[in-house]
Symmetry: C2
Subunit: 221 residues, 2 copies
């Protein structure tokens, strides 16, 4: 088995990055984390890469702010680095910048993202606060292919949990994060191995139903 070469792009503490690195260290995992990129110089998550001997670099988006088109300049450098490292799949893991349509289209079907809601509910920002305010009783997270519309690309997998009456933004965020750390590696494996693939350019079909792509947490009693 040849492992797919994956780049993980972060902006912050990179807890999902750590989960992906952990999964990729297992012998049969179909992907290897070949590169870690942060757009923020001080991102804590960079340490996970250094600790694991994975090439780690910063592309500081602030450096491009005087360019005629800062986003395009940032993405050109990003694109060059991904190609130079023969990257096949990109995982966004708390990367807090929107990618342009041009960039997304040039990597169509090969960028994954994780979002802390059961999409299509609660697209966008401040997800856990909005989740709590809405009064929903079941929350979760979603791994999806990135498309040009924010948080709307084909869904690879979802995981759910029960909102507890005494949940705060912090406690809900923490419990959803724990689900994310299981879901993201499972979904990356499904895409990297080909057991999940795009059909009709829109849905993600799972050829192998045994992939644990819908994880559901046991409700606490």
């Amino acid at each position: 088995m040849r492992r797919k070469r994956v780049a993980v792009i972060i902006s912050g503490r990179g807890s999902n990055l750590r989960a992906l690195i952990g999964a990729s260290e297992k012998p049969n995992y179909p992907a290897t984390i070949a590169l870690i990129i942060s757009n923020r110089p001080g991102a804590e998550g960079l340490e996970h890469g250094i600790a694991s001997n994975i090439p780690t670099l910063v592309i500081d988006h602030e450096r491009f702010r005087d360019a005629p088109n800062p986003k395009a300049a940032f993405e050109e450098q990003l694109n060059d680095i991904l190609h130079a490292n023969e990257i096949e799949l990109v995982c966004l893991a708390g990367f807090m910048r929107l990618l342009s349509d041009d960039f997304v289209n040039s990597w169509a079907g090969r960028i994954l993202n994780i979002h802390p809601s059961l999409l299509p509910a609660f697209r966008g920002l401040h997800v856990q606060r909005r989740t709590l305010e809405s009064g929903v009783k079941i929350a979760g997270c979603t791994v999806h292919i990135v498309s040009s519309e924010m948080d709307a690309g084909p869904i690879i997998g979802q995981a759910a949990l029960c909102v507890q009456p005494d949940d705060t933004i912090e406690s809900l965020t923490e419990r959803i994060l724990r689900l994310e750390h299981t879901l993201y590696p499972a979904c990356l494996a499904a895409i990297a191995s080909g057991s999940a693939k795009l059909i009709d350019g829109a849905k993600v079909a799972l050829e192998c139903a045994s992939v644990p792509i819908s994880t559901i947490a046991t409700p606490s009693s």
Copy 2:
């Protein structure tokens, strides 16, 4: 314990009505189904009422179509009958008409509805078809207080299941219905007993966390 007097309003086969009747026959259930109303003369679900010796009647909305305001005329008769039967809570169970703001406001906080999605996702009609087309991996159902905005009132409870790769509209509908038959009686009990109640007029708070208000189906392997 005095049981709350509940009217169930249906338009079709009334499978949730049957589940509510079944639950209400248990000795400690905090609500009794005191009245069954259908807006369609031929609704199969009427038989559940007859079989259970529960007063059952038809208010045919077609009879009011020549009235100056057909919806208002229908709802006036409905309202009169509910009050004449000392109804305290109303459960919509496959009732396929939208209620007016006036009617909903006059019964504010006392009308429950069940919807075959994890709201706020997939409000409106053709829910299971849209659920499948969207490619979500986790689906479910929601019991909520009816507000003047369709499928948007305070959520009492939700139940979730995993969408299977070979699910059809029919198979998904059937499995969600089975969840509904557990969720609806649990949510009616929570409201009737007062363990769930409106706070801030918007959220439903559960005083008793032991109410199984977030049922999650075990993923089939």
